[in-house]
Amino acid sequence: MDNFTNILYNMRLLEDLARKDTFIHRIHPLVKFLTTFFYLIVVVSFGKYEIGGLLPLIFYPMLVFLFAELPVKPILKRILFVMPFIMGVGILNPLFDHQIVDFGGIALSRGWITFFSIFIKCGLTVTAGLLLMATTVMERLAAALRILRIPRLFVLQLLLTYRYISVLMEEVARTIRAYSLRAPEHKGIHRSVWGSLTGQLLLRTFDRAQRIYRAMCLRGFTGEYNSWENVPIKFSDLIYLIGWFLFFITVRIYNIPMLIGSFLTGVIK
């Protein structure tokens, strides 16, 4: 049961944050989507031993956090919670790669290097994704997808799935609650009701789909729903996109911390 409320809470949190009005929120959704996507590609393209080169990329999520006035704690909590699962097989790297490498006087096993690299990449990618949804409402994201020529059948169906998740979650939660009140010693649902409990929910879903279809038809639906919100692209949106684009490319090409470091050690010498 906690699971259901948790998940709904997380979705609603992002939904609510996405409806704020800041400079970042007003940026065209396609621009935000492309920026996020490009950011992810750049992060992921770093080699498995790269740590330093990745660090400047932290500027992107940080600036978005600040300019979109997003609360750090709840989002950070979400990120940290998810990290161990996301890291998955990466967590085991220290186990498998024991080759010791000299790192400026400290000896680290190579497995740990890759571990930290994956750790940082996970943090950056997860944050970027969540920030996209914390600054873009679903219907505008759908508009962005339409601009990318994603067929309207898929986008409409995606919107419907998103819309009805909370309804279905509550229905399933209610059913499970009713079940567990009558079977308190059972941890999950018993084999004997696997079919009927889930099947009932499924049949009710079918009926609901029927009613929704009816409601759509009665309001003139003919399979073609063409009017997505027309958000004009502003000049500032393009500057945003190109600016980050250039920054990400620069970070990818030049290992900036290395440059800073050698410059400073050179100066000291």
Binding site: M138, R163, V167, R208, R219, G220, N230
Partner: protein, 253 residues
């Protein structure tokens, strides 16, 4: 041009399993009337609404909306004139914001976005939730959802409003609000309900359905103050007409 907005002639409907849900129903409704359709569960109210909307077609008989018979061909025209509000607003609010739900109908008519916007604002103001236009449906209370569902139908500017249990599951305040809304609409209204008191206040005319047939059709006061008739049909006199629960005196007429 006929005075009758909606005419039902010798309507019959049979389910695939042979059960006769509607048996030889006939009535006509004039422009601007507000009619309550009441009956026990299973009497056929919802099926009747489906027939009126053209969602299902009768086995015999016909339904005419302003002289146009409902057939598969005439459905698009018919559906522009009729607006149906479902019992469960969640089935009707399927977009991600209230605005988009209310705009869905007009957009399907291929109206310009400016025209769509003015219709949406107007419909939202009519039901008093203009401030909720950007709200997601799951964040609405029961009464707000109901209002949004009504708005989503109003934006299509129908002549006739069909409503299935509009006050069910509402708290007293929301119920009052919905009733106020219904009273303010000038459309022709057809309302099915179990809420006898609401029907008593809103509707001038009542049609009682029993076992798929019309058991009574007439003036609200006459029908709803007739306890024998209502008992026979599995119903009750409205609470506001019953004996005073405290001292037992019969309510005056």
């Amino acid at each position: 041009m006929s005075h009758h907005k909606l005419e039902v002639r010798a309507l019959n409907y049979m389910y695939p399993d042979g059960h006769e849900a509607i048996r030889n129903i006939s009535f006509s409704i004039r422009h601007g009337e507000s009619v309550g359709i009441i009956g026990a569960n299973g009497a056929g109210k919802s099926t009747l609404l489906m027939l009126l909307m053209g969602v299902v077609f009768p086995s015999h008989g016909e339904v005419l909306i302003g002289d146009v018979q409902i057939t598969k061909k005439t459905l698009p025209i018919i559906r522009q004139r009729l607006g149906m509000v479902f019992q469960d607003p969640d089935d009707q609010l399927f977009m991600t914001t209230v605005y988009d739900d209310v705009a869905f109908g007009p957009r399907n008519y291929k109206l310009s976005e400016t025209e769509v916007e003015s219709r949406v604002i107007h419909a939202l103001e009519m039901v008093g939730i203009a401030h909720l236009e950007d709200r997601a449906p799951f964040k609405l209370s029961g009464g707000e959802k109901r209002a949004a569902a009504i708005a989503s139908v109003l934006s299509m500017q129908p002549d006739v409003l069909l409503m299935d249990e509009p006050t069910s599951a509402l708290d007293p305040k929301s119920r009052r609000r919905v009733m106020g809304l219904l009273r303010s609409f000038e459309h022709t209204k057809i309302i099915t309900s179990h809420d006898m008191d609401m029907v008593f206040e809103i509707c001038k005319r009542i049609i009682v359905i029993k076992d798929g047939e019309i058991a009574a059709d007439g003036n609200t006061i006459e029908i709803l103050a007739n306890p024998e008739l209502l008992e026979k049909c599995g119903l009750e006199v409205p609470l506001s007409l019953q004996n005073c629960p405290v001292c037992g005196t019969k309510k005056g007429d």
